[in-house]
Symmetry: C2
Subunit: 343 residues, 2 copies
C-alpha cells in the first residue's frame, strides 16, 4: 500500500556510490566532483526522492523545531504575535510546534513534555502560568515574551516607556483628569511597568489622576460588561471634566470607544483615549485609536533571533553556558490617531 520510500540506500545502489556519498551530496556537496553531483542529482529526480528529516534528527540531534506556548487567541495581540513568529521561518528555517496553553498549568506542563519528546531545540513562552524558575529547569534555550522572566531570557516591550508615552500624550491633551484602567497584576509581570510609568508621570506633573484596577475575565463579553461598569463609574465621578483614559490594550480601548460612540455618536471633547499594543482592532475600530504601538514583528523577530543564538551556541563542540540572562526591551512607538489631539 504505502509506496515504499526511496532512501539513501536506493540512491546509492542506483548510482553505484555508497550511502555516505549520498549523505555528503546533501551536507558537503563541495566534497564531490561536479559530475558526480550531477549523477546523484539525476538519480534523485529519477527515483523521486523525498527527504526524511526525522531520520536526520535522530542521527544528528537537530530537530529545527521551536516550541511555542500561547495562552489564547482572545486578544488579537497573540495571533498577531504568532503570525510574526511563524513568519520568521523564511529567515531562520525553524519550524514551530504551537500549543494553546489555556491558562491551565497542568496542561502546559503536559505540552512542554510533548515538545521535549519531539526534541525541540528551543522554546518561546507567552503564557504565564508556569513560573520562569520551573521553565529554566528544563534546561533548554528559552525566550519569554511579556511575562514574568526572572530566570529566563526574554523580549519585552519597554513597558515603562509605553506608560510614560501614553500618559504624556494625555497630559498634553490638557485633560482634567487622567485615568488608567488595567488589571491588578503581580509586579513581576513586565506589563506592570505601564502602571508605574503612568503613576510616575502623573506625580511628576502633579496631575489629577486615578488608577482603576479590575478583573476583566477571560472573554469579550466579560470584559465588556466590566468596562461598562467602569464607564458608568467614570461618568458619574467626573462629570463635565475632560477625561484622558489610558487603557490596558486596544481591545479595551475599542470597547470603551464603542460605549462612548453609542452614547454620543462621536468622540466628544470630554474624552481622550489611548490604547496599548497597536493590534488590528486599533485601526479597525470605528475611530482609529491612538495607541502605544508594540512592535510585534520586531519582538517576534528578536525573540526568535535570541533563541537561535543560544541554540547555535549549543551546537558548538565546546558550548559556553550562557553567562547571564538577556532581557531585551523593544521600544514602543506611539501611534497618533483619532482618539487624541495630536501635535
Amino acid at each position: 500500500m504505502k509506496q515504499k520510500k526511496v532512501t539513501f540506500d536506493d540512491i546509492a545502489k542506483y548510482t553505484g556510490f555508497s550511502k555516505t556519498t549520498i549523505s555528503r551530496y546533501f551536507n558537503h556537496p563541495d566534497s564531490l566532483t561536479v559530475e558526480n553531483q550531477d549523477k546523484i542529482a539525476d538519480a534523485l529526480k529519477e527515483l523521486n526522492y523525498q527527504e526524511n528529516k526525522l531520520a536526520k534528527v535522530l542521527a544528528n540531534g537537530q530537530s529545527e523545531f521551536i516550541g511555542v506556548i500561547i495562552p489564547n487567541f482572545y486578544l488579537g495581540y497573540f495571533s498577531e504575535m504568532l503570525n510574526c513568529i511563524l513568519s520568521t521561518y523564511e529567515q531562520f528555517g525553524y519550524k514551530f510546534l504551537v500549543f494553546i496553553g489555556g491558562n491551565n498549568r497542568e496542561s502546559e506542563r503536559k505540552y512542554i513534555g510533548e515538545l521535549l519528546a519531539y526534541k525541540i531545540e528551543g522554546l518561546i513562552v507567552l503564557s504565564h502560568t508556569i513560573p520562569s524558575k520551573e521553565l529554566a529547569s528544563y534546561n533548554i534555550p528559552i525566550v519569554a515574551i511579556e511575562r514574568e522572566d526572572e530566570y529566563v531570557n526574554s523580549v519585552n516591550t519597554n513597558n515603562y516607556m509605553g506608560g510614560v508615552q501614553a500618559t504624556n500624550l494625555l497630559y498634553k491633551n490638557n485633560c482634567d483628569v487622567l485615568l488608567h484602567i488595567n488589571s491588578d497584576m503581580p509586579e513581576d509581570i513586565p506589563a506592570y511597568k505601564r502602571i508605574t510609568g503612568f503613576l510616575d508621570i502623573c506625580r511628576d506633573h502633579g496631575l489629577n489622576h486615578e488608577l482603576i484596577l479590575r478583573d476583566f475575565g477571560n472573554s469579550y463579553s466579560e470584559t465588556k460588561s466590566c468596562l461598562e461598569e467602569v464607564y458608568q463609574y467614570i461618568k458619574e465621578k467626573y462629570p463635565g471634566k475632560k477625561k484622558g483614559i489610558f487603557l490596558a490594550n486596544d481591545t479595551h480601548a475599542s470597547i470603551m470607544l464603542n460605549l462612548i460612540f453609542r452614547e454620543y455618536g462621536r468622540l466628544p471633547d470630554e474624552y481622550r483615549l489611548v490604547g496599548f499594543d497597536d493590534s488590528p482592532i486599533a485601526v479597525e475600530s470605528v475611530l482609529p485609536i491612538s495607541t502605544v504601538g508594540q512592535q510585534i514583528d520586531k519582538i517576534a523577530y528578536t525573540a526568535v533571533e535570541l533563541l537561535v543564538e543560544q541554540m547555535n551556541e549549543r551546537k558548538k563542540r565546546r558550548p559556553q553556558p550562557q553567562k547571564e540572562l538577556l532581557h531585551k526591551e523593544i521600544t514602543p512607538v506611539l501611534k497618533l490617531r483619532d482618539t487624541t489631539d495630536n501635535p
Copy 2:
C-alpha cells in the same frame, strides 16, 4: 555538556529487563506483570526518563503530525480557525506544523516539501494557491477548508445556504434594494455559492438588487479605501432608498458600518447590514453586526476528524483506498444582532 539522555537501554540495564520489555511497558503494559510494571515505573522516575518521539516515529512511521497551510492572518477568520484547529489536540492528540502561505505558490510548495520531510500524516489546507489536483498528487490524506476542492476532501460552510439566509434577512427587513459586495472569485471556490444564493433569492422574490464585485487587495487599508469608494457609489446611486447590504465578511461589514457611523453617528434606518463569518470583529464592532455565522469550531473539528479517519485507515494492515471524496458542509447559523431588524 548536553546531559546524555536516558534511553530504553539505560532503563533495561537499571531494571534488569530487556529494551523490548521497556518498550512493551509503554505500548502494551498489560503484557507485563503488575509488579514488573511498578519496577519499571520506579526506574523511570529514578532515571528521569524523557521519551523521544522522533525515534518512535522513525521506528513505526507515525509522526502524529498534521501539517497546516494558512494563507495569512489578515482576516480574523483564519486565526480563529487556527485556534480551533490547534485546540483539537486535546481530542485527537495530533500536533500541528503550521505554515503561512502568503499567497505564493512556490513558497507553499516548499512548505509542503518541508511538511512531507517531517512525515506529516495528513494535511489541512486553507490557502488556495495550489490547485487541488496537485495537492491530491502528494498522495497523503488531505482536507481542504473553504477552497477549491475538486480532487481533495473538504469541509466547507454551506455557502449557498449562508447567502440565502443573509439575503432573506435583508428581504424581510423591507429593503428597497439589496446589494451584495464581494470579490470577483472563480466559480469553483466554495464561497462563490454565497453569490449564487444571493442572486437566486433576489430573483425568486423579484427584488431590486445589485451585485458589486471589486478587488479588495490584501491589506486593511486597501480594503478600506475600496469600500469607501463603494460606499460613495451606493450613496449616490440609491439616495433615500433603504439599502440592505450583504458583505463578503465581517471585516468588510465592520468597515462599512464604521463609514456609516462616522457620517451619521449611528446606523440610520436607510442601511441594513449583514456580514459573514461571525469572526470576533462582528461582536467587537461599534454596533454588534448581524452575520452569517460560520461555525468555525465545528468546521475545524470536522476537518481534523475527517483527516484522522483517513490517517487511521492507512494504519490498518490492509488499508482500503478511499472510495470517493468527501465534501462535508457545515450549516451556517444566522446571528441576529444590531445591524438588522430582527423578528
